[in-house]
Symmetry: none
Subunit: 217 residues, 2 copies
């Protein structure tokens, strides 16, 4: 199905072209070449296509990548804002929390990623995911198999949920984080459970929990 949009300030020919590009792209999964446009829009020459594409680009309807075959990118007004978040490892009670680095940070190289809509991680940089292993995070209301999205931050504000590594206990955990009078209070998400009071030197904050995603069935 092709959705035709009415565009302002452009000729019928240009309107035809932009609709053709969109339809082609939706149907085939890659953009049309200049000559595809020529035949698809019954144009007489590649230069006519080029001429009109230049105008459309200047008006902001699309972006062309120079010298790239089929390098037409629609500036999509109904663009889906999505982000590929690399899942760099698993988090489990007895294992160190994987820390993002240049290697696993590369989304294109990462074998495992989760794609989320932008509003889940709005405006935030340094987001990565961990797959939860085991049921040790139940006090954080997080189950085996859940995916936790973390943000790589230097500082945690009081009350935020953090992924912390307890050095002497050699344990990873997810807790609400509070600094209080020379010590750190770690509070389970389930408020009815008792907090943990720890020596700050024993705590390594590895990230801030931004979201949790659980898929069932």
């Amino acid at each position: 199905m092709t959705i035709k949009v009415k565009y302002k300030g452009i000729s019928p020919k240009q309107q035809k072209i932009i609709n053709y590009v969109r339809a082609f792209w939706l149907e085939r999964g890659y953009p049309p070449s200049i000559r595809d446009i020529v035949s698809g829009c019954s144009l007489s020459s590649t230069s006519v296509a080029d001429y009109n594409l230049k105008i459309l680009e200047k008006m902001g309807y699309l972006h062309r990548h120079r010298e790239v075959s089929r390098g037409i990118e629609l500036t999509d007004r109904n663009a889906v804002h999505k982000r590929n978040i690399p899942i760099i490892g698993t988090i489990a009670a007895g294992e160190p929390i994987p820390v993002p680095n240049d290697d696993n940070w590369d989304v294109t190289a990462s074998s495992d990623t989760i794609e989320v809509t932008e509003d889940l991680v709005r405006n935030k940089d340094g987001i990565y995911g961990l797959r939860v292993k085991g049921s040790s995070m139940m006090d954080a209301l997080i189950n085996d198999g859940d995916i936790v999205l973390l943000q790589n931050v230097k500082q945690i504000e009081n009350g935020e949920m953090a992924a912390v590594w307890l050095k002497s206990e050699m344990e990873a955990t997810l807790k609400k984080f509070y600094t209080e009078a020379g010590e750190v209070r770690l509070q389970p998400a389930n408020n009815q459970m008792k907090p943990l009071f720890i020596d700050p030197a024993n705590v390594e904050v590895q990230g801030k929990v931004v979201a949790v995603i659980r898929r069932l069935s």
Copy 2:
């Protein structure tokens, strides 16, 4: 939300290639050329890329259009589509579970929606969302403010998580559902908690839990 699966039966190199193709496509709006793949995946020759692409095509991971520049089309399983899920109300212990109807079903009219990528709710019809109010669902590892995605189903399979309304108790709850010898067993997601045994006549299954999304900070 798209979760990239570990692909079976293909080499790490092929896995890297397919991820690269998808990332490239998502980011730039058009597919990569063979030589883009060569440099992006640190391959040594175009023929290596070609060789592996042929295998990936044979295995159905992508489709190549012969003699077409950048004519790589990702198979549907890799395509990312988004869905707007209407959030038709809240779910709380003491309140009836809102039931979808023609009115609140209309995504365009619904005041509140959540946008998710297709494979979180893959192939499923009748998906709607409820915002969790209160902390009564903690035994399901679900917190105040979480969003629960439900599917409007007639039948629940044993072991699936269901949103049920307990008539005489006038209570909504989320539990794993089992029918057993003339009664219904409702098991909290936290397996260490005790199950509930209920007369089937007292149970109204309102929906099947498909996913849980928790946003923090």
